[in-house]
Symmetry: C2
Subunit: 392 residues, 2 copies
């Protein structure tokens, strides 16, 4: 059996949320309540064990990563167990934390990163899947809301949520973590309208495909320290609660984007995705996220729809499409209203990408015009090489 | 139990292969050997029962669809059984024949549409799958050839072929049906080089994605009555015998394109695909095939590669691609050399289609530029509506 070492790391939190990377950022004074992560090391590799908010003595120095501040019940019991029985403990967290742990920061709220009460606004494919998986993972209370009564009823009937209050504010009021899973524009509005109702210690996140707008809105509303954007790369072209699946996020990358001063919230939301939904959280800047997603998600959506749009006009009626054409156009079946919002919110990034397609398209056309087999093969090989790596 | 009616239909064959549609074509004199299809009807719907080459009395008139000419052992035994026991008999052919059966034509070759000796030139994903499925369906002898020794050995080892002669001509000489499953340009050459070796009663077909060129070559070589083009819509982006699967063609549409005077061969090849490979054959004109496939297959391939080609240049290293982007670009992993041939053989159809993409692309760009949400939604809805029908 491998030997286990343990250490605790106090992280930046809501009140002082900057992440301290080596040689970077001020050494803050520890506050009364800090976010403590307990790590374990097996064969020299540190792994995440548990975390929690703990009460700390004012002025306590946690720079040495000692064990004393571990007051949190869950973390403490794990730590004691590990000290008694220093072998690898079973756990669901198989990966390194998604970011480097360094010197501690300061004060904190009382929120636990594994909420006992979770609220989800929007019970479509993403919100519904989130609810299903959260209940399966043992979250005590999951409340959900949807403007459609039918979806609320279906979600309760299938055990995805414990209750479906008739107003979104009632969900916001009752939970420790509120997930906005409505379409992007609605999420922006919900952030403002639900702000007065969200409990003092509660965190808010969303699941939208565009992140600059909602992160900026959270900052503008003064929700910075309590908000972090989220975006799981696990969509489906289907929509509505009927498309929800209990394993949609398992193993999926989920991007977490913090506000200007919301690194603490980002870490907590990341931990929620990792520990409850078994996703793989990756911290990313909102602007970088939107630039990247314009290429990796919004452009593929636009191109699949472009092909389908053209075929809808040009293909002979009754023509058969093989599995290749069906895969290439699958995304086109996605909900047009949702993707209109995403395209428009990210159009400053998407438009240049769309225009940039003209160059390689022109290259292929010229190679075909001149019957230049070598050029066609080289062009296709560049694409094939890239795509085969993705399957490797 | 449903009542069964039976009838026999004598079809056009190699020596007089024109298909007689009502009011069309000469009434030929029946030859010594005719291709007889036995049909059964349940609740008024005619279904295919069995077929075979039969010896017929010279001058016999089959125009009345009577039962007398059924001399073929298999067809006769089925017919007798059906007469004794007029209920629905179990059978593998669950669909209507892919074309209308009408008045009989004339003379025939001796070739049975279910060959006892099948030859396959090229043992890649398509040729290999064909061999696997043919053996599984009970074809007595399947011979295969590939320029790569490793593929020949793998195919024999996995029971896809019974033997792999060292020369393609040896395969051509020994079989009743020869399938060219090499890349399209190689198939064109093989047609000429193997012609002298193919037995007098044998049929030839191919499996390429472009059909005008090979159909024209067959006509030019005087192989018209013995050749029919084939194109199963069941490709894979993988290649080589390792990508062969025993169920690749099950339920897939396979296009059959006849030469100028090869309707008889086309029907026999169609029946081979239906009865042996459980595919769904559809007769189509070669020019119409190439025009249609430019849109339904070659354009999706080009667009998937276009997206991958651009992403290979523009996407940030290490960026994660979700299932949507992966599906949209899957085809890009296809073999570049193969698709270069297909693109160039069909470039007069593919190029206009590629250029026509510019119009809907421009429409989307303008809608995004002006922030016209309604126009973006309408554009996406046109694509979504079309694509959702394909899933329905």
């Amino acid at each position: 059996m491998d030997r286990v070492s343990l250490r605790t790391v106090v992280l930046g939190t809501a009140e002082s949320p900057s992440v301290h990377r080596p040689g970077h950022g001020p050494a803050g004074r520890p506050g009364r309540n800090a976010c403590v992560y307990v790590q374990w090391a097996v064969a020299g590799r540190w792994r995440f064990l548990s975390s929690g908010r703990v009460g700390l003595r004012q002025g306590c120095d946690h720079a040495r990563h000692d064990r004393r501040p571990v007051q949190h019940r869950f973390a403490r019991s794990r730590l004691h167990r590990a000290e008694r029985d220093p072998v690898v403990m079973p756990g669901r967290l198989r990966r390194e934390p998604p970011f480097a742990f360094t010197r501690p920061s300061v004060a904190a709220s009382f929120l636990c990163v594994r909420p006992t009460k979770l609220g989800i606004i929007g019970l479509g494919a993403i919100g519904g899947s989130l609810a299903l998986q959260a209940k399966r993972a043992g979250i005590a209370t999951v409340l959900g809301w949807s403007p459609e009564l039918g979806e609320r009823v279906a979600a309760v009937r299938q055990g995805a949520i414990d209750d479906a209050p008739s107003r979104a504010a009632d969900v916001a009021r009752a939970v420790e973590l509120l997930v906005l899973a409505a379409p992007p524009a609605a999420n922006l509005d919900l952030l403002g309208s639900l702000k007065p109702h969200v409990g003092a210690g509660a965190l808010i996140t969303d699941v939208g495909s565009v992140k600059r707008a909602i992160v900026a809105r959270a900052d503008a509303l003064g929700l910075g320290p309590r908000f972090a954007g989220g975006h799981p790369l696990a969509g489906t072209h289907e929509h509505g609660f009927a498309a929800a699946r209990g394993d949609l996020f398992k193993g999926a990358v989920v991007y977490i984007t913090s506000t200007r001063d919301g690194n603490g919230a980002a870490r907590e939301v990341a931990h929620f995705w990792e520990s409850v939904l078994e996703a793989h959280p990756v911290l990313i800047d909102a602007a970088q996220h939107d630039r990247q997603l314009a290429l990796t998600s919004h452009l593929p959506q636009a191109v699949a729809s472009l092909l389908a749009h053209y075929l809808a006009r040009a293909a002979p009626p009754g023509a058969t499409f093989g599995p290749g054409a069906r895969d290439a156009t699958r995304l086109a079946a996605s909900e047009p209203a949702l993707w209109t919002e995403i395209f428009l919110m990210n159009r400053d990034e998407l438009l240049p990408a769309l225009r940039s397609l003209e160059q390689p398209l022109g290259e292929l056309e010229r190679a075909l015009e001149t019957g230049n087999a070598q050029a066609v093969t080289a062009w296709l090989s560049c694409a094939a090489q890239w795509r085969r790596q993705a399957d490797a």
